[in-house]
């Protein structure tokens, strides 16, 4: 595939840099995956806990390459009529009406039924044709004049049937529409495909085999600091280090849902709004609901709040 901003995908370091310019800080693994996805022309399946920037990666890639980002949000019950194509039924009905009215003209001079049928065939059948086709995200991505980024979000939420439906698209960049035929991606205009999954269920091997697999874990301290700095540059360095240490400590606790990067960023914004300069137990207690989303988690953390906060303060 050739893209207008191909040079931005020249090497892993270049990708990392260009991402960084867009405030998306990534480790070499992530950049490697993007690099390979482009050069091998393969989709990437991104897995990882919620809130580590899986969807963001696709969006940032689109922004970096200045491509359109076509997004397909998966959910239970999603089927081909919402993902690939649908017929414009209203127009099709109108067409039959029009056809009925012009029927006399078409059949003029025909003798007998067989001649009429022949004449009707000559007229051409556009009932199932491109004119009445309403493209949905997958088809749109294939037929896009320019390359695009296709984001198939939370593929684990969709049904097994839909997963199988994706296989053709992912391996050959083509889709079959029974009434029309096979639609192929324009050569060198293949979309860059990202799939994300929260692992609520195991993705089938068939799908995994067709994709590169990228697992994004929670970032380590350094990376998370960089991310917060890139996303919330206003925050003071001291506070930033403290809160990152605090979050990292929380991830070691036994919680129902540990805070992810998105929560860290939200928390940083909250702390700025509150004009805080340093963490203290009271402040943390008041803002705990920003980073923890379950009451039982909040309760269990509150018990250890003092010690965790002190640890965060001491280390920075």
């Amino acid at each position: 595939m050739t893209l207008k901003n191909e040079e931005k995908l020249a090497s892993v370091e270049v990708i990392q840099e260009s991402f960084e310019k867009l405030h998306y800080i990534c480790n070499p693994q992530i950049a490697t995956a993007v690099f390979l996805a482009y050069h091998l022309e393969k989709p990437i399946l991104i897995e990882g806990p919620p809130g580590v920037g899986k969807t963001e990666l696709a969006k940032t890639a689109a922004e970096m390459l200045e491509l359109e980002c076509i997004r397909l949000q998966c959910y239970e019950g999603l089927d081909e009529s919402k993902a690939i194509y649908e017929w414009k039924y209203g127009k099709q009905l109108l067409y039959t009406q029009v056809l009925k009215e012009t029927l006399n003209e078409i059949l003029e001079g025909a003798k007998g039924l067989s001649q009429s049928v022949d004449k009707l065939h000559e007229f051409g059948d556009i009932f199932f044709s491109e004119e009445f086709l309403e493209p949905r995200p997958l088809l749109k991505a294939l037929r896009n004049d320019d390359s695009c980024v296709l984001l198939i979000d939370e593929v684990d939420k969709s049904d097994h049937e839909f997963e199988s439906l994706l296989l053709e698209m992912l391996s050959d960049f083509q889709l079959s529409i029974p009434e029309i035929g096979t639609v192929k991606a324009i050569e060198n205009r293949k979309p860059l495909v990202f799939l994300t999954s929260n692992n609520t269920r195991e993705i089938s091997d068939a799908l995994k085999r067709r994709c590169l697999h990228l697992y994004i874990p929670f970032p380590d301290v350094d990376l998370e600091r960089k991310i917060v700095q890139a996303r919330v540059p206003e925050i003071a360095e001291k506070l930033r280090n403290q809160m990152v240490t605090f979050i990292q400590e929380l991830r070691d606790l036994d919680l129902k849902k540990v805070p992810a990067i998105s929560e860290t960023i939200d928390w940083a914004r909250t702390l700025i709004l509150l004009h805080s300069e340093s963490l203290d137990p009271d402040l943390v207690r008041q803002t705990l609901n920003v980073i923890l989303k379950f009451q039982e988690d909040i309760e269990s953390v509150e018990a250890e709040l003092q010690s965790v906060t002190n640890k965060a303060l001491k280390e920075n």
Binding site: F35, S81, W87, D159, R201, H213, Y215, P217
Partner: protein, 488 residues
């Protein structure tokens, strides 16, 4: 390099990373793009292509580090240095055993200062070449003049030739070491050494001595290499062998030390079964209006929506009730039966689990919310090790649960049907048989003893759709497989 990659893929497979041929091809393409210069880059790239879940990624990094051991890489990078170092070592010996040589002092000094001094080494090499004999055998030449990289490559090639990756058990290490040495031309070297020793001249003797020393070093190295290969290839396949055996062995004969392995096997089995059967896990909602189908169907009625089509709605809610005997008579088995029950609860969406020795108790919640060990321990504590009373169990079931049984329910009973000569209450089982879709009895005892002593299988069996012997993990796997097929 292709061959190496294939070998690597094989190693990955023994480490239980599923790599398909298509993925191997992807990996080759990926190597073409990435190149071999940057180790971490290559590692990350291959990880993206070959390992497809977090556990596999960890295993992959481990395998990569072991397979492409960094020392071999670094050797090839600074092969020049190591070459010189090598010669320094040998020169050192020369110095010691050649007190009359003119360059004695110099080489002694060079050797004494140790390896790593590239310049000095080269100089000595030149000087020594004039005075020492050169070996004639292939291996001898390699040992005396080849760089470490060349030696390593020759060793790996020989290893490939004798198929060292087929190594299975620990005791084969000696054999393979020997085989590799032979393949590298040990015979020629030995002959040369004995010939040199027989010759009697000083330079010959020195050369023989050096060759012997180098040979021993090489043997050490080969042994090391074989050991590494053993851990790479055999460690895992040995485990597979053990697991296969465990599957066949009777559950009651398993010893405590095997429990951990068994648990792993059961989990693996369960996972496999989940993968196959979880597709049917879904319970479908009511169908929606299928516009396309409706439209197409109604074209014959002049486009009037006359015959409305709905999207097929599958209502498929298999229900399983599992009753497990945990009494003393089956205590050897109950652990595994519970394990099985636990795995089953993971596979099927609607499993209700019960345990009893006399009183029936529901453990569904317990199984849902705790780990296997905890669930098993608590079940055994609460219900285990009493004397069996099947009649009582069936009575309890009738009182509490029979209303929940309908024609979609499968009832599985795990137990030996030894009722201590109590009232078997087979008529209740008959009632369950009539109401449920299927009643399956899994008995750990062999069929021949089903009617011996206080066993009531004779009375119970007619009230079951299916009775099966189930006393090894293999049985368990087969039974569960069939079960899932029929249940879902």
């Amino acid at each position: 390099m292709d061959r190496t990659l294939v070998d690597f893929v094989k190693v990955l497979r023994t480490a239980e990373i599923k790599v398909s041929p298509a993925e191997t091809l992807d990996a080759m393409e990926c190597m073409n793009i990435v190149g071999y210069e940057d180790r971490t880059f290559l590692k990350n790239s291959l990880a993206v292509v070959l390992a497809k879940n977090p556990e596999e990624k960890d295993a992959f990094y481990d395998c990569f580090d072991r397979f492409f051991a960094p020392e071999e890489f670094s050797r090839s990078e600074d092969s020049d240095d190591s070459e010189n170092t090598d010669h320094n070592d040998f020169d050192d010996n020369d110095g010691d055993f050649n007190p009359n040589e003119g360059n004695n002092q110099q080489s002694g000094k060079g050797g004494g200062q140790g390896g790593g001094q590239g310049g000095g080494g080269e100089q000595e090499e030149e000087l020594n070449e004039e005075t020492t004999l050169q070996p004639t055998s292939e291996l001898g030449k390699l040992l005396m003049t080849g760089s470490k990289t060349e030696q390593t490559i020759a060793m790996m090639e020989a290893g490939r030739e004798v198929e060292v990756n087929q190594i299975v058990v620990f005791t084969q290490k000696g054999l393979y070491t020997r085989k590799i040495m032979d393949a590298m031309g040990l015979k020629g070297l030995q002959e040369e050494v004995s010939e040199l020793q027989g010759h009697g001249g000083l330079p010959q003797r020195i050369l023989a001595k050096n060759l012997k020393k180098a040979r021993d070093l090489l043997r050490e190295k080969v042994r090391d290499y074989v050991e590494k290969q053993f851990f790479l290839h055999a460690d895992e396949s040995g485990k597979q062998l053990r697991e296969e055996l465990l599957k066949k062995v009777k559950l009651s004969n398993l010893e405590k030390r095997n429990f951990k392995d068994v648990q792993e096997v059961v989990f693996k089995m369960a996972k496999k079964l989940i993968a196959i059967h979880s597709k049917r896990r879904k319970t479908f909602k009511r169908g929606q209006l299928d516009v396309r189908k409706t439209l197409r169907h109604n074209m014959q009625y002049d486009g009037m929506f006359f015959d409305i089509k709905w999207k097929a709605s599958k209502v498929d809610r298999p229900k399983v009730m599992c009753i497990c005997d945990v009494s003393g008579s089956v205590s050897n088995y109950s652990r595994f039966l519970l394990m099985f029950l636990f795995s089953l609860a993971e596979i099927l969406p609607k499993v209700r689990s019960f345990a009893f020795s006399s009183d029936l108790g529901e453990v569904t919640k317990l199984f849902e919310h705790s780990t296997l060990e905890e669930a098993m321990a608590r079940t055994m504590r609460d219900y285990g090790n009493g004397s069996t009373d099947y009649g009582r169990m069936l009575m309890d079931f009738k009182n509490h649960c029979i209303d929940d049984v309908n024609n979609k329910t499968t009832i599985i009973i795990l137990g030996d049907a030894r009722n201590n000569y109590g009232d078997p209450q087979a008529e209740i089982l008959k009632e369950m048989y009539d109401k449920a879709k299927r009643v399956i009895w899994l008995n750990p005892e062999p069929k021949s003893s089903w009617t011996v002593g206080d066993a009531e299988m004779k009375k119970y069996a007619p009230c079951c759709h299916q009775t099966e012997v189930c006393n090894s993990l293999m049985h368990l796997e087969r039974v569960v497989g069939n079960l899932l097929k029929s249940v879902t």
